[in-house]
Symmetry: C2
DNA sequence: ACCTGAACACCGTTCAAGT
DNA sequence: ACCTGAACACCGTTCAAGT
């Protein structure tokens, strides 16, 4: 659908040879970031990967920020919302939340963009919100409580996505252990559980707290 | 204490005239960011505010990232932990959480730093963790549950800090309202509550969910 | 309408030279 | 030990000139 809207201005009968469309730029950016990460993602690099001069990009995207906005909205389509309407509401919600966290843990720099970009500029993001909202409404969550529920979940998900990228020993107090005995002992207890990562344990704890609260909002 | 440790290498009897100490650089950075924001915060600007050449900073901080790490740890001392030991555990926890969110809402670029910086490099941050951990332990939260509780709260707080900076109309669907009827209706209900912001309503909802869960962990 | 190549106004950081 | 000034290797972005 975005392919059509982007190429819509070309004349009928004229062969399609334009490389620089919004979906193609987005796809190239996603590929490039997947290969080398966000730190080395530059407009020059993006242009090179598309076989074009850097300045050519500015005929299609007003700024690098806009390219990242396109990418953010595209990444949202990768979040798993298939549970809604197919599974129990809470199973669908957990599936969505875990998938959402995992995807943004690999796209952390996009978090600051989703968090402040109006939904009118991100149609796929709005689509996701609609699916989740419909799932909550069908479960009996009152309309007035849907936005606070989604925002609270999303805030927790974004913060947890950061946490996934933290080093495993982030809480090791080392030489400072004497000055923080209670916290250091608590960190020590964490080493007993080896099957699940520290980030996963905390995410599960918080997610269940939120799901439980949302459960309490439901009306028959 | 950091004043002493930083100036500790100077000889006794030699007058203190050095401007570029860790606490002074940190204070200057905080002042500069308070005045003009993170977007325009540069090493050149920081050097200018200290009356020094940009390259002089590199005799004290290895990189701009290090300056931001110092700043992050300093900002942590501004978080309100005074409730612990003085108020009921849950009152203290709420007070801490709201203050933590508010401070990082004005220092959003520091979030990605706290989230991944080992505590050994951030003594004030560790101090805060110790105070919160002690508060939870005194409330009866088992040692093994303290880290997941703090991490879940912190993740929620970081995500919520982003949310505070979002424009008020971020969820207004506008022309796309037809394609998202349930979500748009839910957003409409939000306008009824005018005394509290959307971000505050969601933060309160999520925070109470987490506090409640932590309450359930307590043992006598 | 859209591309190229050169240029601009920055960045953070390094380093020889000073004291 | 620590500062200056010049330089380096980049950035994102603009714009005249082409087709």
């Amino acid at each position: 659908m975005s392919d059509a809207e982007d190429a819509g201005h070309r004349r009928a009968g004229r062969p399609l040879e334009t490389v620089l469309t919004k979906p193609r730029i987005t796809a190239a950016a996603l590929r490039l970031i997947g290969a080398t990460g966000y730190a080395s993602f530059t407009m020059s690099g993006l242009a090179r990967s598309l076989g074009v001069a850097p300045s050519a990009l500015y005929n299609h995207a007003a700024s690098k920020q806009v390219v990242l906005q396109w990418l953010q909205d595209h990444v949202m389509t990768m979040v798993d919302v298939a549970g809604f309407g197919a599974e129990r509401w809470d199973t669908a919600l957990r599936r969505w939340a875990w998938s959402y966290r995992d995807i943004f843990a690999t796209h952390v720099p996009l978090i600051s963009i989703v968090a402040v970009l109006p939904v009118t500029g991100a149609p796929q993001t709005l689509r996701m919100y609609e699916t989740v909202a419909a799932g909550l409404a069908a479960a009996g969550v009152p309309s007035a409580q849907i936005v606070p529920s989604i925002v609270a979940l999303e805030s927790f998900i974004f913060g947890s996505a950061f946490d996934v990228t933290a080093p495993a020993d982030i809480f090791e107090t080392g030489a400072l252990a004497q000055s923080s005995p209670i916290f250091s002992a608590a960190v020590g207890h964490g080493h007993e559980n080896t099957e699940k990562s520290r980030a996963d344990v905390a995410f599960e704890f918080g997610l269940e707290a939120l799901v439980d609260r949302i459960d309490g909002l439901r009306r028959p």
